[in-house]
């Protein structure tokens, strides 16, 4: 007599520590091997795009903080650029430098969380995540110093930033750079050289280059698959053309590559910050012509930045009113999930969690 086997459906999430929020994945497994994966979203849907149509351009900055709540500064940056493009607002030099410093600090903070929780998903419980929390804290302290907020910063404004850097900010930042460099070396030794970690992540969740491009992947997910595409270099916005930095890429497109790309990117961000701190000029931090709300003529604008998760874009349509007629978010976390099924099918259930962790999603941005 032969035993009959049949596929089993496993519900993963929505309330589960490895789902990075409220993400639900319905896995069909044959033994331990995943044969189908279907995601169920919407548990954190707040209707931000609808709400934003009722608010003014400046009020909407607050909403952008709450999309990807681990990288509020980058979200602000993308949104204010879209408004500036729509309304034709110039940005003073000093404000551009402040924005770049903040965006790169935010990238480090976001990648730290991504790497820490990813290591946790791979089974390294506790320690490394707490180290990363400790280091992210230093970035958050700097944010607090600059704008009074730690996570939902609401710092940037069309035409600049809401307030100038306090005098003690730059000295603190100068102390932070070498300290962070040392920590990154430590992490590389601690995690990237860890044999168990390598076994869990190498050759797992491979995303081929062609599929990555076709499925619209962006950010570290795309670059780990070997595509050298970074908007800071490929569609230079703000003042990124003034800085010297490299774009790390992977070769295989597995979970390990995605992790390593993030780790290397933190080093590159430190390089950018170092140069920005050296060159930052004095002067106004906001366009003096912009006071309170802005007004935009009828039209449309799309602006994007290379956020920590990938290409974050805002598409705004104006009908000439005080707020957007249409407020569309091109959210990298959401679009990076497109190829999740291809990435998970054929691997073990335990790998599915590692693969999801390696994409680095934030549900606030997926569900909006």
């Amino acid at each position: 007599m032969t035993l009959e086997t049949q596929p089993v459906v496993i519900n993963f999430g929505p309330q589960h520590p490895s789902t990075h929020g409220v993400f639900r994945l319905v896995l069909t497994v044959d033994g331990e091997v995943v044969i189908d994966a279907k995601m169920v979203l919407g548990y954190l849907h707040r209707g931000v795009e609808k709400l934003a149509e009722e608010k003014t351009y400046v009020q909407n900055i607050t909403f952008t903080d709450r999309l990807d709540y681990l990288s509020a500064m980058s979200n602000n940056f993308a949104y204010v650029q879209a408004v500036e493009k729509l309304a034709g607002i110039a940005v003073p030099e000093r404000a551009e430098y402040i924005r770049v410093i903040m965006a790169e600090l935010q990238r480090i903070a976001s990648h730290l969380m991504a790497m820490g929780t990813f290591f946790q998903d791979a089974g390294g419980w506790g320690g490394p995540l707490m180290y990363m929390f400790r280091d992210r804290e230093k970035v958050l302290d700097l944010f607090e110093m600059a704008c009074g907020q730690r996570l939902t910063c609401n710092y940037m404004r069309p035409g600049g930033v809401s307030m100038d850097l306090p005098p003690e900010f730059i000295p603190e930042l100068k102390k932070f750079i070498p300290a962070m460099r040392a920590y990154l070396d430590e992490y590389e030794e601690l995690i990237a050289e860890n044999e168990i970690f390598k076994i869990r992540t190498r050759g797992v969740g491979i995303l081929p280059k062609e599929l990555a491009i076709d499925a619209g992947a962006s950010g570290p997910v795309l670059r780990a698959s070997g595509v050298r595409w970074d908007l800071r270099k490929d569609d230079t916005y703000s003042i990124y053309d003034r800085f010297d930095f490299d774009i790390p890429t992977g070769t295989v497109g597995d979970c390990y590559d995605r992790f390593m790309v993030r780790l290397q990117e933190c080093r590159q961000s430190l390089r950018i910050i170092e140069q920005a701190v050296r060159d930052i000029p004095g002067g106004p931090w906001v366009n003096p012509g912009v006071r309170g709300n802005v007004w935009a003529p009828p039209g449309e604008a799309y602006a994007h930045v290379e956020g920590p998760k990938g290409e974050l874009g805002f598409y705004l349509v104006s009908d000439g009113g005080v707020g957007p007629y249409r407020f569309k978010i091109r959210s990298p976390s959401y679009i990076n999930l497109t190829a999740l099924k291809e990435m998970t099918v054929g691997y073990k259930v335990a790998d599915a969690i590692v693969i999801l962790g390696s994409i680095d999603i934030v549900m606030g941005e997926v569900d909006r």
Partner: protein, 166 residues
């Protein structure tokens, strides 16, 4: 300093007219609008023609121009040539909302079309699995439409006072 250069829409419109006559509906310096029923052919042409090679679909958006029509906006980028194009198409009115799906051309459209179906109520013909992605299946209406009125569902009130605890 590298930038993604927006392609001259006149040149692209001419090429489209040459290969697919009658597909272009209108053109501005920023975007090209094509006929709704020719959208898939146009998309395939833009993706596969050497020199255009739009391999990366960045974003899909639907805009409700109440009370006239819905407009779909596609932001395309060619990673190879560093150029971009904004492709648009319109539904005939706000009643006929079946539009062709582009999942067969760019996979990246898959989740974005689901989002538009859910929130804007455009039906993508040819989408592999059209379902509500954010809202629950019983939800009525499509919130991003300009004429959407929020349905207030009264909470069931307790008919009897609750038993005191303990």
């Amino acid at each position: 300093m590298t930038r993604i250069v927006p392609l001259d829409t006149q040149t692209v419109a001419d090429r489209l007219e040459g290969a697919l006559p009658g597909s272009v509906e209108a053109r501005t310096p920023n975007d090209i609008r094509v006929k709704l029923d020719r959208l898939v052919e146009v998309a395939r042409f833009l993706k596969t023609t050497p020199g255009l090679d739009f391999d990366y679909l960045v974003s899909v958006t639907a805009v409700d121009y109440y009370p006239h029509f819905f407009e779909l906006v596609y932001h395309l980028v060619s990673m190879q040539h560093h150029h971009s194009l904004v492709l648009k198409t319109r539904t005939p009115d706000r009643e006929r909302v079946v539009v062709p799906s582009l999942v067969g051309v760019w996979r990246s459209a898959e989740l974005q079309e689901l989002e538009i179906y859910d929130l804007m109520g455009l039906v993508f013909a040819g989408h592999p699995e059209l379902r509500r992605i954010f809202l629950w299946d019983e939800f009525r209406g499509h919130p991003l439409r300009k004429d959407y009125v929020e349905e207030i569902i009264p909470l069931p009130l307790p008919t009897e006072p609750a038993e005191p605890l303990g």
